[in-house]
């Protein structure tokens, strides 16, 4: 595909999603340019992981459109979608390596699925990618024998083995010690400069976000508060954004009437 001529690698428009009756995303629009690193930030329950799931096509949107490399993922045929997956790499929060396969076999999975390379070539490519993530020599181990940071790096190796144009990270540094987390940030920057990938990172780690991001999107309660460069985010005078940046607990004013209703388990106070 010919996406370098595209204006945007990822375009999300007016995305609305529900979990049961509860609305999670309320009209989210987001554009990511080619070779850009976009960080999606927000507190727990802000909808950032949900947004990632919908961009990846793991759930069908209730309203709105999602375009990856110019293809509307809910309109293209299943065969086109299948081909599009070659250009997408994802590193999940828990790594999501297949526990029944060795690290090397895990990394070869996308190659086995999408190419007709012979076994030896695949293993050479897997070793090259392990080298990129500093895990060379670990291809014969099982995922259960790796530490948390190693699992994440192996998952990144699997995500980049097809040299995808779009690379997604879900909470790359969650649960890792600061040194390993910093190494992962370096790795993300390196992947963009060396392999020219468009990268979307979902995280709530401030340091890491400011270090790697070209632009940051801040989600709160299913809405985008702001999309802008790191400077714009730092200088924003929105209170919620500043709460998030300065780790201040939310200071919402409590309406005594409403609070009473919550305690009494009433949905809405009836007016007599």
């Amino acid at each position: 595909m010919h996406d370098m001529d595209l204006e945007y690698a990822i375009e999300v428009e007016d995305l609305e999603t529900y979990y049961g009756d509860r609305q999670i995303l309320r009209g989210v629009s987001l554009k990511v340019a080619p070779e850009e690193i976009m960080v999606i930030m927000g507190g727990s329950g802000s909808g950032k992981s949900t947004l990632l799931r919908y961009i990846l096509g793991l759930n069908p949107p209730h309203a709105g459109t999602i375009k990856l490399l110019g293809n509307d993922i809910s309109k293209i045929s299943s065969q086109e979608l299948y081909l599009l997956k070659k250009d997408i790499g994802v590193s999940f929060q828990s790594g999501a390596l297949m526990r029944s396969l060795s690290v090397g076999e895990n990394i070869c999975m996308p190659l086995k699925e999408h190419t007709k390379l012979d076994e030896n070539t695949m293993h050479i490519m897997a070793r090259m990618k392990l080298e990129v993530v500093n895990l060379s020599g670990f291809e014969d181990l099982m995922p259960a024998e790796l530490s948390g940071g190693m699992i994440k790096r192996a998952a990144i190796a699997r995500a980049i083995v097809m040299d995808p144009k779009l690379l997604f990270f879900d909470e790359p540094s969650a649960g890792l010690d600061p040194v390993v987390a910093a190494e992962l940030d370096e790795l993300i920057l390196h992947l963009r400069s060396a392999l020219k990938m468009t990268i979307v990172v979902v995280t709530h780690e401030l340091d890491s976000a400011f270090k790697i991001a070209d632009r940051i999107t801040i989600l709160d309660q299913g809405k985008i508060l702001l999309t802008g460069t790191t400077e714009e985010v730092k200088n924003s005078d929105d209170r919620r954004i500043q709460d998030l940046l300065n780790r201040r607990p939310k200071q919402e004013e409590i309406d005594p009437e409403k609070y009473l209703d919550i305690l009494l388990g009433k949905k809405a106070r009836q007016v007599p």
Binding site: S94, M98, M109
Partner: protein
């Protein structure tokens, strides 16, 4: 009065919700069945084949590894039938008829039923647990973003392997039931084992043997679909996996027994009239 009414309404509501849920699940299972077959037959031409290797792996797990336990159980059931047969038929002086009884009862009924229940408990639960844990650890999501259809990768191999293994295990069951019974009868009634086997081959018809095989194919489909669908629909947490696994076994065995009754009726409908 109002509490009775509201209780009744809640009851009706619950029944309705369960019913609709059941219909939805039935629909899901039928789609899963169609999709598993679709990938089995069409996957290759769409460059997304069901891997022969994964089917063989399932066959080894479901079929080959179960041969010993199927043999032991079926021998025991065969011997048990023979003991009861000799004891009851003796009253009519027909104890030699035990050979006919066991031959027909095991091929028509017992071998397939024992194998079905055993495979449901042994492999059906394992399949649900495996797919359920994969779901929990986002491995299924990982498959999907790589472009690997989870039904093709996990569902089709199980269905194909079951359809191959359960009837083959049933044939093993036939032999072992009859062998187990033969051991008892030949020593209790003092006839050579070879004579016992000759008599068995005389009484058995193609109809007897095929009844068990037809039913075992149905059981295979039931175990595969119940196991796989419960795995994909697993609730959250380790508790969810445990609950789905139990549900999978209980449902498989219940459906097997009910299907057995229905198929036995229709396969023998000619002999009632």
């Amino acid at each position: 009065m109002t509490t009775v009414m509201s209780g009744f309404i809640r009851f009706v509501e619950n029944v309705g919700r369960k019913f609709v849920g059941g219909i939805a699940e039935l629909g899901y299972v039928l789609v899963l069945f169609a999709e598993s077959l679709y990938w089995g037959f069409v996957g290759h031409s769409r460059q997304q084949p069901v891997r022969v290797q994964s089917v063989l792996k399932e066959i080894r797990e479901i079929g080959f590894n179960a041969v010993l336990i199927v043999s032991v159980l079926c021998m025991a059931v065969g011997a048990m039938l023979a003991i009861q047969g000799v004891a009851t038929l003796k009253a009519f002086g027909q104890e030699l008829r035990t050979i006919d009884l066991v031959a027909q009862a095991t091929t028509r009924e017992f071998a397939s039923l024992i194998v079905g229940i055993l495979v449901a408990g042994r492999s059906g639960s394992a399949i649900t647990a495996r797919i359920g844990t994969m779901h929990e650890s986002q491995e299924i999501d990982a498959l999907r973003v790589i472009g690997i259809n989870p039904v093709r990768h996990l569902g089709s191999p199980v269905l194909l392997a079951m359809i191959v293994c359960v009837p083959l295990l049933t044939i093993v069951g036939y032999f072992m039931c009859i062998f187990g019974s033969g051991l008892f009868v030949s020593s209790a009634l003092d006839i050579p084992l070879a004579t016992y086997m000759e008599r068995t081959l005389e009484v058995l018809t193609l109809n007897d043997v095929s009844q068990g095989l037809i039913k075992s194919s149905v059981f295979a489909i039931i175990i595969a679909l119940v196991g796989v669908s419960n795995g994909f629909q697993v609730g959250s947490g380790a508790e969810g996996v445990g609950r789905s696994t139990t549900r999978s076994v209980v449902l498989s065995i219940s459906f097997i027994v009910v299907a057995d009754m229905i198929f036995t009726y229709f396969l023998n409908i000619a002999s009632f009239s």
